[in-house]
Symmetry: C2
DNA sequence: GCAGACTGGGAAACCGCTTTCCAGGAGGTC
DNA sequence: GACCTCCTGGAAAGCGGTTTCCCAGTCTGC
């Protein structure tokens, strides 16, 4: 393992000079020595030890992002946005997946803190559990106190910089569009009761329906994934229009209806939320609310990196995209 | 920022003792002191500085994985497998995405080397360019020479531990299945000419057809993604059966046929490769070759971690899955 | 021609932790 | 009771860099 000292010796200069040449410094180094050092480093195949740099500088060039599940395209898109933005800033990305276990999330924050990462990005929905949220806040607080930067994509619950998708408003806009198509009997595949994203979308949808003077929708809870949508779709009864609180669930519902010979949108209209790119070629094409996922990830990184006194909340609006999976009632 | 020294002082013990208590050591520490140290650490909210640990220990608990694109479900599934396996080993994961730029891949290997990560996992297809491959090998060699561990998912071209999907054999088995259905005029949406995965799948498919005494398939090159499949599908001419060298391309092809009013499988049968989970609800359901992606990721990590003298190649076989997107010819 | 400001180079302190080495005390044996 | 060994605790030497501080040499301006 070749060290900076080896390089310095080979180049016949001091450690300090070698450091200044190879690892950016404000100080100038004469062209002659500079060339000698660079050649020595090249010959020896020197690679700076980043652990040592991090220790000496007191700051690392790594950021951490913790998501629920990379195989969920929602998080993949978000992570991709973050990684592109990070690459632009010369930052490396450490990804943690919690598979929806809040304890894992807390543990990851602790680990990232130990790594002294430059920033931590938390993506994905909070669960509605004050005890767990409290412990997470505690762990984040420790990190923030020592100069850490944190941003969150999702609900604004943690008193940190947040990119908050307008779940309520998006779902409400969707509800109004669907109501405008003449539907009156709705069902919501609502996901788990304690998951804030799911709850917000469900509430926004419901409230908008009521505001339109329409009857209360049937609300069916279940897991937040494809199989959850698939199972919940069995209980939509006489509803003519079904809103799944995310696209992946909507796809599960579509599959369920197809298996049972129920036509979409002929017999029932289906809408989702997120507008996941990978799912856009589904038939029937899914009506949904588009969220600029990659962009949200990039903005979260931007927020985290820009030091600030007060936490900022950036709201991101969704755009209703009507596609074949819904139809107007005669 | 509270350091181990702060903890030691508060507990009234030496630095060495505090270190032994808090960060696993072979040495025993008396129960009394142990308790004092633990209490002090807790009160102060101590978090070990991992950069310092890495430097002192000379080994980190981070592994790196470099993939092309996280939003491609193929890589997401692979990465997920790696991350689950890594979590089981107490390792953290640093993810790099190259967006198919080989230079980026080389740069990432250099960076991960600088980070002194415990292992580097390379996923995704190599391009057939000796110059670039040579530079990548050089960079890997530097890392290996200093004790790094490397494994690769894909072609066995780098002289490192490799988990190699049986692309040729899988495509050949698929070809035989499709031929068995009575098809004789085939087209292959073959991806870029220089991409080894694509080339192997294409060659395996073609060779199997010829071995069956069937005519040469039409081979259409193009990008390895959804849009590539979509575009290439316009040129399949009179073929009754089309093989896209991955599922994402196949979905693009499906969309293309749908737009043009060509029925699948009525007018043309379509098959893919990979059996991406997110795509399984597509209609018509895609015939494909299933690869155990998450498992392959986990195995790659296992290979990298198990120190060994000679590089090992583990072959992974794919399983043909016939679904609605193909039909038997009368 | 000279004081003063600059410039580029090197010695050494320091970042926070691990671990070797040493010392002192407890426990065991004859 | 003397001698050994075993065990636990502490002092200190790194790990590989960065950066402060100091110094000698070079410019500048008058």
């Amino acid at each position: 393992m070749v060290t900076l000292e080896d390089v310095a010796r080979q180049a016949g200069v001091s450690l300090a000079t070698a450091s200044r040449v190879l690892n950016g410094s404000t100080r100038q180094v004469g062209a002659g020595l500079r060339a000698k050092v660079e050649r020595a480093a090249d010959e020896l195949g020197y690679r700076a030890n980043i652990a040592a740099q991090t220790l000496a500088r007191g700051a690392s060039n790594v950021i951490g992002i913790v998501v629920h599940d990379l195989t969920d395209p929602y998080f993949a898109a978000l992570a991709d946005g973050v990684m592109r933005a990070a690459a632009g800033e010369g930052l490396l990305v450490m990804v943690g997946t919690t598979h929806r276990d809040p304890e894992q999330e807390i543990a990851y924050v602790a680990t990232l803190n130990a790594q002294r990462v430059r920033a931590v990005l938390l993506a994905g929905s909070r669960v509605d559990d004050p005890e767990v949220t409290g412990r997470l806040r505690g762990e984040l607080g420790r990190y923030l106190d020592t100069g850490g930067r944190v941003a969150c994509v999702g609900q604004d619950l943690l008193d940190v910089d947040t990119v908050a998708p307008a779940n309520r408003e998006g779902a409400a806009a969707l509800a109004r569009s669907l109501a405008g198509l003449g539907h009156t009997r709705f069902a919501v595949l609502a996901g788990p009761p304690g998951l804030m994203t799911a709850a917000d979308r469900c509430a926004g949808f419901r409230d908008a329906l009521l505001a339109e003077g329409l009857p209360e929708p049937v609300v069916i809870h279940g897991p937040f994934d494809r199989d959850g949508g698939h199972a919940a779709a069995r209980e939509t009864g006489a509803a003519t229009c079904v809103f799944a609180v995310n696209d992946v669930m909507a796809v599960g519902a579509l599959a369920s209806y197809r298996e049972r010979g129920i036509s979409v949108p002929g017999d029932v209209s289906v809408a989702g939320f997120d507008d996941i790119a990978t799912l856009r070629d589904h038939t029937p094409a899914l009506t949904t609310v588009r969220l600029p996922l990659a962009d949200m990830g990039a903005r979260a990184l931007g927020l985290a990196l820009a030091a600030r006194d007060k936490p900022v909340v950036e709201h991101v609006t969704g755009e209703v995209v009507l596609r074949e999976s819904v139809r107007a009632l005669a």
